[in-house]
């Protein structure tokens, strides 16, 4: 089944991902792509605590993820790939043509960002980067949980 969800979520592994998406997808592995977390054993231990034993967590840098995406896509299990921000998503999409769709699941308020959806706040630069990804052929939608509507990029960026 491979990677069923490519998701941008600044909380990374949390309830919406593990329960909200993980249960209906019958997800059994999560790939967390974040250079900072990849280099911190302690941060990895922290994220492992939030996941039941039935789900494997794979920590990867952007470079490692780009290299291993074909194998994850060929995996018989169902997986979710998480990145913390748009820059990481763009970096991964720039290194691998396997990224065909992106779910914007949670980008919260910070200085310089404005509210686009209840769970999506974007700066002008981030909006431009999402549009660049779409122009490159990536289907970008926003959807926090599976029961919500997938909002097309044109409606929020």
């Amino acid at each position: 089944m491979s990677i069923a969800l490519y998701r941008i979520d600044d909380r990374l592994i949390h309830g919406q991902v593990v329960v909200g998406w993980g249960q209906p997808l019958d997800c059994t592995f999560i790939v967390l792509v974040d250079d900072e977390v990849r280099s911190s054993d302690w941060e990895q231990d922290l994220y492992r605590m939030g996941v039941p034993p039935s789900i494997e967590i794979i920590f990867a840098s952007v470079d490692e993820a780009a290299e291993r995406l074909p194998a994850w896509e060929a995996d018989a299990r169902v997986g979710i790939l998480l990145v913390p921000d748009i820059d990481t998503a763009a970096a991964l999409a720039g290194r691998s043509d396997r990224v065909k769709r992106l779910n914007v699941g949670g980008i919260h308020h910070r200085a310089g960002r404005t509210e686009r959806l209840r769970f999506v706040y974007l700066s002008d630069d981030e909006r431009a980067k999402l549009r660049q990804l779409a122009a490159a052929g990536v289907e970008v939608t926003a959807q926090d949980v599976p029961t919500a509507r997938a909002v097309p990029l044109a409606e929020f960026a």
Binding site: V18, M49, P52, H108
Partner: protein, 126 residues
């Protein structure tokens, strides 16, 4: 302990606020517990909410689930600050006991809270 412990309830949505209100309504004790919701927060923002809620006091963080952003950020906070203990699976019974036993060290108060909270979970006769 020279200073009474603070309890900080950390939850999804409005669970924390509801629990804190219920404890005040039952005991009449105000200010012993502070609610923190993860609503609308990324990890940095939730860390800042925890910092504001705990203040310069020893504290026990009562988290709703044994996983997720509330827990990961609470543990991250405890790792970076002294005299902080973290308990998961918060329920009303453990908070009611906690507000009357805030003269303990954080780790001892956390163990006591787990005991009292677990004892409240049972199957009753019909």
């Amino acid at each position: 302990m020279s200073e009474a412990l603070r309890g900080v309830v950390v939850s999804h949505s409005a669970v924390a606020q509801a629990l804190v209100s219920a404890v005040a309504a039952i005991t009449g004790i105000e200010g012993a517990l502070v609610p923190v919701s993860n609503e609308g927060c990324d990890n940095d923002a939730l860390g800042e909410r925890l910092l504001q809620a705990v203040g310069p006091r020893p504290a026990v963080l009562f988290v709703d689930l044994p996983g997720g952003s509330c827990l990961t950020n609470s543990i991250r906070y405890a790792k970076q600050h002294a005299d902080i203990a973290v308990v998961t699976g918060v329920n009303l019974a453990m908070l009611l006991d906690f507000v009357f036993h805030r003269d303990l060290a954080p780790a001892d108060a956390a163990r006591r809270a787990v005991d009292s909270g677990a004892k409240a979970i049972r199957v009753t006769a019909a």
